[in-house]
Amino acid sequence: MAIPNFLCKNNRVLLKELTKTDFKLRYQGSVLGYFWALLRPLMMFAILYIVFAKLLRFGSDIPHYPVYLLVGTTLWSFFTECTNQGIQAIIQRGELIRKICFPKYIVVVSATLTAVINLLINLVVVIIFALINGVTPSPMWLIVPALILELYMLALGISFLLGAVNVKYRDITSIWDVLVQALFYAVPIIYPITMIAESSPTAAKVILLNPISQIVQDIRYCLITDQTITTWSYVGEERFFWKFIPIAIVIIILIWGSWYFRKKSKKFAEEI
């Protein structure tokens, strides 16, 4: 039901119009405009690079560590932007939902698509940065889009699930803010996973069961160096199925989120 619905022409037109509007209005009134889509994550990267790579000397044993870090921060920015926009979407478009009947998921998808566009722009910077840094292109790069899709599926699932709850309990916005902060340290963005693996292999395995860790490490593996520790290579030596836990989490969250959103969306107009 949801899939033919998605392909319906009217819904596609609406999705396009809403995404276009979101993107057009995002940086309106700022002098640098769309440039901020590039500048913000780059500045965040610069800060983290100075603090962690230069002052704390993280990752000195990893080849192309700056690219390694930039890949992590770029994907992390995408994840937080995507979920923040997605969770807020229904409330921000409350005016529309109370006045007109249309499939509610379009609002969430259009809000997250803006983050996808920003990610694509940022990936161009990552690629340029990688090439300057001496990373050699390889056929493995072609796997990256599939991994990004996995990350988007996770972010979308979370947006549907928490966005639906957020309509009634606005506390979700604040709770998610805190959770994201905690999650940032639970995935190997700023610290290399090797640092954890040296002192506690079990802790490293637990970290790698998180889908975000799995995706970030896999993308680093494909893009930068096959020396990267990945979920596939590090977890599940005794029990093979452990390797599939991250992807299973993503699929479960997406299906659960869509189902719950669909169930609750009938009442959005009354509850907002």
């Binding site: 022409k9 009217n10 037109v13 609406l14 396009k16 119009e17 809403l18 509007t21 057009k24 209005l25 309106q28 005016e95 529309l96 939902i97 109370r98 006045k99 007109i100 009947c101 249309f102 009634k168 309990y169 606005r170 506390d171 009938k266 009442k267 107009a269 009354e270």
Partner: protein, 247 residues
Amino acid sequence: MKEDMPTVISVKNLHKSFKLPTERAGGLKQAIFNRLKGIKGYKEQKVLNGINFDIKKNEFVGIVGRNGSGKSTLLKTLAKIYFPEKGSVEIDGTLIPFIELGVGFNPDLSGRENVYLNGALLGFSNKEMDAMYDEIVDFAELRPFMDQKLKNFSSGMQVRLAFSIAIRAKGDILLLDEVLAVGDAEFQKKCTDYFAAIKGNQTVILVTHDMGNVRNFCTRAILIEEGKVKLDSTPNKVADAYEKLWN
């Protein structure tokens, strides 16, 4: 002649009630608190109490009633914004709802962009909007302003644009909620002329408090009182009954 026309809207035994929060129940803390104490945290408010009517093609139906009688809830249920709690609403054809004018209008977009966005929200493709665009702009008499941002339009101009989209959008059934008195005297004349022209050629449902409009445009009217149909008759009889509500 009217009997030959097919039924386009069929409302059967429609019920709707809302849960109105009694205490501030908008937070997680309050929700948990209420559950622990066994408080429901809301009060059921019956809004629609078994509404029945059929509307035939090309009827111009006025829906009248006091504030809070359930008119707007009825309209929103027809527009599928609210789901019926009991009973059913069947609609044959495309329904263009105008619960409010200019839904989704954004002050930072140009007039033209707003027309296309509004059209997309109503379910029209860009191609269909291309075909309607000139007519909409001409009716609103705003052609020189269409590339300016909407925030630079006067409020009267914004309403004119929104209203023009409403009546120029090509749907089988038009749903209007108190949107008639817009624009200056000249524009109002244009609107009344337009309504007089489509009377009998287009299915329209109009919610209004203006009995002059009911008498002039409608072919039939329905008086709603406490969530029920109190009178379903000719516009004159319903307008008289409505005016008697306060005597």
